[in-house]
Amino acid sequence: MKELVENIEKQITTDKEVISVLPRNGIKAIKTLLKTISDMTEKYEKLNEKLLKEIETRYSELTTVEENTEIPQIEQEVLKYNIAEKNTDMRSSFEKMGLDRVIYNVNGYYKSNLERLNKEIIFSVKQFEKVGIKLTAEDFCISEYAKKYMEVLLREAYDGDINSEAVKNQFEKVYWECSEVVSHLYVNIRYIYDKYESQIDRFYNEKAQEILKGLSLTVEGVEEKKAELIKKKNQIEETDNKIILDKFYTGSLNINDYKEDNYKKIYLELTDKDVTQLSDSEKNEIDENIDKLNTNLTEYAKYLEYKFLVEQVLETRQELLKTAEANKNKKDKKVKKTQYELLKEEIKKLQSEIFKLNAKIEKPNRGFFERKKAEEKKDSIAILQRNNLILDLKKTYMQLDEEIINQNILQDLDETSSLFDVLKFASSYYGYMAKAMIKNNEDITDKEIGEKAETIRKFINFSNFTVINHVNISDTKDLSIIIKDKYKLLGMQISKENFEEDSIEDLIRKVKIINNYNNIQKSKFSIKDLEFIMNVKEMLKK
């Protein structure tokens, strides 16, 4: 409609000239000029109204996009299979209950605060309840301090306020009686788990059987079904109108990157091909490869963020293998108990000694009768001994945790394990993950550890992996080289340099632009539509 535009432009120029040439001397001429300006203003205001109305109608038509109902449905399905996976995977009941996180946070409470400590303790109480074990203050019997605190905390939690004044006062009171009360709570939670371990294991085994039977799938089948659903969801989201529009609205995509010239330029840079000269089939093939490269690079970039975890596990594994090799030659014929068995025995022994001493320790209030000084002294000595044993027990539990991880590193991982297997392994143990995060960044706070752990677990649970699940730990080639070599063979213009620290972001950005541009073509929008929407949006701001 070039002609219409030119006509309007011409009209504006003519009208401008009319205003400038009309005489302005004498009151009569001035009045005529004012009348001409007013008439002209009225005409142009009407046109402006018409134009604005047309803009509004088009904007409204373009931006009225239905939410894709299939996406939340798939998300629900993914969650269902994720819960199934979490209940049937190889992790121990301790990790399935989330006690690994509780234990880490209760142990490091001094870096956190009372509110967080209480939250974690109550979380553990709820988790026990979920597996059929209803806890009361009586279960916190490792010491009178743990019990006294839990009496108030559980009562207040029942009333809905775990951070009430009563809880704070009780903590203060108990803390000054025994400053190691949190260690007592730590040991007590672990003791409760030990006490009910076989019952909890049975609960999870039965639940796993029930879930698999309900889904008519094997453990592997559940994993495959979930991966398939995530892939489907990602594919739908790539071309979904609402998601594309929201990305521009929120600024995660910038319309200037999607101008045709920029697209052509980047296309040429990445493929060495002039996109306008390609046949449909040639372009489809290249675009498919760009789509795959985009998925691979996104996964690779995320993996780089968590690579330190994989490296930590592999380093530990190397050390363990070396030690095992050295011990192989020293081994005498007599079968010795494993470190794990020894620690388990030690824990049982310490628990028994603690409860023996607890039985001896008399209750502080015995009615109206004053207790004899000698008896009180006897109690104090027993309490001191018992408290020391609780601290020994805590240390032993921590050694056991380390031993379990070491044992599992050797049992669950071998040369055929993939980088994904290792990352998944590390993410299964909160305490291990937290320690590796601190090693990687000693300034990290407990809150940040919690957030990062959640992000890593989300990445593991809700991604459709295509790279790290195919690369074995025995592969000596760097992951970036593996990706680069594959796409080089497919004619992509990428080099080792593109994967260097200061270039990788640029490569990812360019591949994303091409891929998003291609996906936009499959949506209801054209780039011109999106340009229009964003321009109107800017206009509306003013």
């Binding site: 401008k16 300006i37 203003t41 005409k43 142009y44 402006n48 011109k528 340009e531 229009f532 321009n535």
Partner: protein
């Protein structure tokens, strides 16, 4: 040409925005001119 007969629906999205911008800017010009001439009228009366 008659402005009231302009068929805005015949304009492309970018043309529509471009023309609206030009009209808006011309309206600003007209308002400015009106103020100037109005002042002249006051001075002459």
């Amino acid at each position: 040409m008659e402005l009231k007969n302009v068929k805005t629906s015949n304009l492309e999205n970018d043309e529509l925005l471009d023309i609206q911008k030009q009209v808006e800017s011309f309206l600003k010009f007209l308002n400015g001119e009106y103020d100037t001439v109005k002042k002249l009228e006051e001075e002459n009366s």
